[in-house]
């Protein structure tokens, strides 16, 4: 039974991935301008060639033939993909897409991942506290704050952080925050390196937390309130259990159930990172790379990054399904027992 379930889920996931890959493949190639055209324009500007000359020269720069029929390009791509080869970047000929992803993915994972963890933890704790003391000043202030944070776009926050804290107040030097890690530290498990990594990730993480914590707080609050109304909480109170124990063992656990699934789904979106935030902080993540690839119409790179993001989402969806089944006893009934 278990094996057939796993099989079904895997097949479904693979089908979805295939559909997404095909869809994005066509979409991307329907964008106005192709990588060669983009460079042709730059060449014409810079070197004043005629269109034909520029086209010839540009074609020489690329590992890509815009004249090839779409279906052939697709067959080529899928064939390579099946052999585990994501191809080479078009705009930087000779650079495998896999290398690019390996280069940028860890940074995104690290920054958005820690942002997610912090945001989730903070949201759960605050949301629970607010539900418990609902109606109090604490609750009202935080609810308003959460809604407000929810309302200001994160990219604005990013710019403000850099400008106010960095340029005006000089709370940090730009060298310490832009990019992924300082230039003068050696990669590896040494303290200066780790410190530098954390330092550089701080601003993107703060921005990310700002943008998402409001959602977690509000969800956790409403979930906790509905849990507090359940009979078993009444019973536990009637039994005279200490408040703290009720809060942790009974309320917290059950109120978090719906959030855990959401968390699992969010994990999938960690991989995509945030295009704008990474741009502003010069953070060497996958999102920024994707935006650059879109700018130069680097089809293979875009395709590769889309694929990685989609895989992560599919995977996290499966994870959410499994987690929900494991955590909610009501779903487990009639299972292995």
């Amino acid at each position: 039974m278990w094996r057939s379930y796993a099989f079904r889920v895997t097949v479904q996931g693979l089908l979805t991935l295939w559909a997404v890959t095909t869809f994005t493949f066509v979409m991307i190639r329907k964008m106005p301008g192709n990588p060669v055209e983009v460079v042709i324009d730059q060449l014409i500007d810079r070197q004043q060639l005629s269109y034909e000359e520029a086209r010839q020269q540009a074609a020489g720069l690329f590992d890509f033939d815009p004249g090839q029929p779409l279906i052939e390009q697709y067959a080529d791509y899928m064939n390579k993909l099946l052999h585990g080869d994501m191809g080479k970047s078009i705009s930087s000929a000779g650079t495998p897409v896999a290398n690019q992803i390996k280069r940028y993915l860890p940074w995104t994972l690290f920054s958005v991942g820690s942002g997610l963890i912090i945001s989730f933890t903070l949201g759960v704790l605050l949301g629970m506290a607010m539900a418990y003391w609902r109606g109090s000043v604490f609750d009202n202030v935080l609810t308003a704050a959460a809604s407000l944070m929810y309302g200001i776009p994160d990219f604005i926050i990013a710019l403000l952080l850099l400008l106010v804290a960095g340029v005006q107040l000089k709370l940090f030097s730009m060298e310490d925050v832009l990019g992924g890690v300082g230039q003068d530290v050696h990669a590896g498990l040494n303290l200066p390196y780790l410190k530098s990594v954390v330092q550089h990730a701080a601003l993107p993480v703060i921005t990310y937390v700002w943008g998402t914590v409001g959602g977690w707080i509000l969800t956790m609050k409403s979930s906790t309130i509905s849990t507090l109304g359940e009979d078993y909480i009444m019973v536990a109170k009637a039994r005279g259990l200490p408040e703290r124990r009720i809060l942790t063992a009974y309320v917290g656990r059950n109120a978090m159930l719906p959030l855990v699934t959401r968390l699992a789904i969010s994990i999938g979106f960690v991989v995509g990172g945030s295009v704008i935030i990474e741009f502003i902080f010069q953070y060497p993540g996958l999102g920024r790379q994707l935006a650059m690839a879109i700018g130069t119409r680097d089809y293979t790179t875009m395709q590769g990054i889309f694929l990685v993001i989609a895989s992560a989402v599919v995977f996290s969806n499966i994870l959410a399904d499994l987690l929900f089944g494991m955590l909610d006893p009501r779903v487990r009934v009639g299972g292995e027992e």
Binding site: M1, Y5, V333, G334, G335
Partner: protein, 344 residues
Amino acid sequence: MSEQPLIELRHVYRTFKQGRQLIPVLQDVNLTIAPNEIVCLVGESGCGKTTTGKIIAGLLPQSEGEVLFQGRPLESYRGKERAAMRRALQIVHQDPFASLNPAHTIGQILSFPLKHHKMVSGRAELRRRIWELLTLVDLTPPGDVVNKYPHQLSGGQRQRVSIARALTVQPKLIVADEAVSMVDMSIRVSLLQMLHDLRDKLNVAIIFITHDLALAKYFAWGERIAVMYLGRVVEIGPTEQVIGNSAHPYTRALISAVPEADPIRTRSKQRMKLRSEDIPKLTEIPSGCAFHPRCPFFVPGVCDARVPTLGAAEGYAQQVACPPLTEGLGLREYEAAAEAPVAG
């Protein structure tokens, strides 16, 4: 019986899928209900009473077997006949808080079926009919409830509305699924009385589902009772017989557990000793007679080997599904010592 039965269940099976497992909820259920008759379905929770009720009301298809309405399988009805058949079979649910749509007023709830099935023509008739129905279920004066929302009524009042709603389509049969079990004791009697009156006035048959044998005895006195255990009907017959002269050991056990109104009699009453108090899981139904692991009259080699069917037994007017009785072996106390060789 010369009269054609209103509903007839023939070898009805029903299984549910839970996770990746099939659970047999009903097994080989046979039941007939005559027009204008009252039948009580009694049994512990999980014995398949409600499922039987839903199948009769046409809300749930059976997995196997046949359900006949006026001599024809339910599935064979088409078009107008089907619509008429659907209307003829109505259900009143257990939970008065969940059975009425909170978004509509009582007047609306009653007017939907009346209008949809064109049971009335014109507004005046509609209003008159609603008045009638509300009066019929003793919700008087009707003006007090007609514009209210369900949440503004008490549990008993809601249950009356549920019944009134079922009556809008002039059914031939009402399945009352634990219809009074969530209502205050004081209201129950009047509700039950009302159901009886309705049966008399409107010529409607009632299947009354309950886990409460005492209630069944009160409601179905002079009618019939069917006792269910783990998806099967184990005993069926006139109420006086089933209660006064129980045949099946399970029925006997149930009766011995009913508290009497007189506390002294209750205390002095001897409860029948079962060999085991645990009800087996539906996923692990014992072989043969499902009751045999608990039955004090267990006959090794008979009870655990043969699947019992309803049949007549000597000395009993009702039908019973107990191999020792139907095969004329009689009931004898089971002695544990006798078990050893069989088990060994």
